[in-house]
Every structure is written in C-alpha cells, then in structure tokens.
Amino acid sequence: MIIALNIGLAVLILALGVWTIVARDTFAAVVGFIAYGLLLTLIWVQLHGIDVALTEGAIGGGLTGALLIGAASRLRKTESKARAERPGALVRGLAAVVASAVTLALVICVLALPDPAPTLAPQVAANIAVTEVGNPITAVLLAFRAVDTLLEAIVLVFALIGVWSFAPDRAWGGRPGAQQHVDPNGILAYVARVLPPIGIMAGLYIFWVGADHPGGKFQGATILAAMWLLTMMAGLTDAPPISRTWLRFGLVVGPLAFIAIGLAGAVTAGALFAYPLGYAKPFIIAIELALLPSLALILALMLLGAPQRAASQ
C-alpha cells in the first residue's frame, strides 16, 4: 500500500515537473513549480525527513514561490519576445541529450550507493545526550557541526549584500520594493491583520520545538519572514530603508553572537565552538535566539530585492 502511494506520488511529481518545463506561460510555469515544491514536502515526509519537509514547505513552497512570481511579473513585458525566440531543432536535440546524460549519471550514482550507506548516525545517537537536545538534526547543526551553520548564516548575509548591490545609485540605502496601495478596508488588509499574529505564534512555536522535535530556527524564521512580508504586501507596513541602524544590527547580531560563543568556547572548553559540559543547551538556545531575527530579516529582505526608492520617500 505504501509502495503504491510512493509510486503514485513520484509519478505525479515527475509529471508536474515535465509540465512546468513545457508550459509556455511564465506565470503558469511558476505556479506549477510551487505546486511541485509543495508536493515535494510530501515526499520528504515519506522519506522520514520531517525537518527537511518543514524547510521544503516553507522555503520551496512559500518564499521561493513569491520570489519567482515577482520575477515573472517583472519579465512580463519581454515574454512575447522571449517566446518568439525559439531555438532550432539541433540546439533542442542537444539539450535533450545532455539533460538525459546527466539524469542517467545521477541515477547510476544513486543506485550504486553502498547499501547500507556509510553514515555517522550511530555516533550522533551515541553522543547526543551530552548536547542536551533531543532532535539529532539540531544537535548536528548546532553542536557537532556548528561551524557549517555559522558559515551558512554568513553566506546568507553576503547573498543579501549581493542582492542590494543591484540598487541604482540614487536609491542606495533606500526602501526596497514599490509602494503598495491597498484598500485599508479590503480583504487583503483584513488577512494581513489577522494572519500574522497567528503566523508569528506558529513560527515561534516551530522555532522552540526544534530542540527536541522537528523544527528549528530556520523554519521558524521563514514563517516569521513570510508574515512580515504579508503585512508589507498589504500595505500595512512599509519596507524599511536598508540604511537603518536597527536593520543592519539585526542582520549581523546572529552571526556575531554565534562567533562570540564559538570564541568563548575556545576559552572555556578548550576548542573553538566547544561547549562547556552541562552548559550546552543554554548556549545552543542563545545561538538560536540570536540567529532567529537575523535569518527572518535576511530572508524577508532578500525577497524584497534591491532598494528602489530613495530613503527619504
């Protein structure tokens, strides 16, 4: 029964993927891609990766969708020109051959993986009690491989700076996105007043529960970012100018706190990013608390894009 379900799910997702590529209208293709992302969440649940399913649903479904739809609406004017430029049969044939070759290589690699796959999971399970967290993913991300998580957070900050670099000179330090004019008594404003409090509660809950169950700061931050973006889309709040001090501080407080705790570990426990025995959980929670607002800010600002309006507007 489960096998039939998994096969059905796989077939559905493959068909949806093919449709997304073949679809001519950009808007339709983006909708197909988002449906694909939301269905991938189901696949991750079936693979017992609940944390990954949470991340896929949040980022792949919601945030990437909003990002792509913004891009699609910006490309709308050039769409007819793009459609007119159809590559010749030779190029298309070559593309099909290369894509098939890459797929074949991936399939062979996956099927040739040793069974049982080499894994450090037993070592993690043996040592997880020391970290005082119950969720092995959190233990790996914030205790055993904390350096990777720090570098990922810093990469996100760099990515945001990269997005900001697209701002025209006159708008540098200004507000991203266009001014939203929305009827304050309309449905959109209503949703933006009612949903964010619930969403913030849910985001904080998922952040908190990540210590012992699937969840964590990244998924929680994504939900918080989505709720903030919702209020901006409905015109209830305006995007902040990126030169604001609180914004800049909020962006770096997470990585800085992380680095500080890592350096403190060198002093108190003898190695960089080591935690003193018995104090692991408070430090992990401190890192997560510092990273949560930073990640939420980064994700929301990346979606808003480069500043378009001068700060004084």
Binding site: M1, I50, A53, G61, R76, T222, A226, L230
Partner: protein, 99 residues
C-alpha cells in the same frame, strides 16, 4: 486502521492530482492561482492522514507550516497577477455585486 488511512491518503492524492490537472490547464491566471488553494487543503489532508497512519505527530507541524505558506503564496500570486496594480476593492464590479 493504518491501512484504511493509507487508502484514504491514496484517494486524496488522486483527488489532488486530478485537481492539479484541471487547475493548471485552466485558461487564465485566476484558474492557476487556485493551485495553491488546492494544495493548501488537499495537500494538508494528505499530510494529516499520512501522519496519522505513521503515528508521527511532527507531521502536523509540517501541515501547519504548509497552511501558512500556501496562503502566503496564494496572496503573492494574487498581487502579481496582471491588473492587480491597485487594490482589491470590488467597488468597480461590473456585475453590481456588493460582495
């Protein structure tokens, strides 16, 4: 019991698949915007049934996240549709519907 729930999940997934076929084919952007709605309800039903069949409570958190983010994605679609430049007032409704 788990087998019955898995059967319901399979049925539900088939409904979502059929719905997707119709919704993605629909002429016009509004039809396609319904895809996020469809997955928001049907997909969540599949998740909850899967979670109950496997006895995993964490799947409900995934359903919660999906509900919030599917709503967010739907609203992003509506805002990005052509002609959505101004607001969502129905005052200029040519059919004279007050709703």
């Amino acid at each position: 019991m788990p087998e019955a729930l898995l059967a319901a999940t399979g049925f539900e997934l088939a409904m979502v698949a059929l719905g997707l076929v119709r919704v993605l084919r629909g002429p016009g952007d509004a039809d396609r915007m319904m895809a996020a709605q469809l997955l928001g309800t049907g997909g969540i039903a599949v998740l909850l049934l899967l979670g109950a069949a496997a006895g995993a409570d964490a799947v409900i958190d995934v359903a919660l996240t999906l509900a919030l983010l599917a709503a967010f994605a739907s609203i992003a679609f509506v805002k990005a549709a052509p002609g959505a430049a101004s607001d969502d007032r129905a005052a200029t409704d040519p059919r004279g519907d007050a709703g």
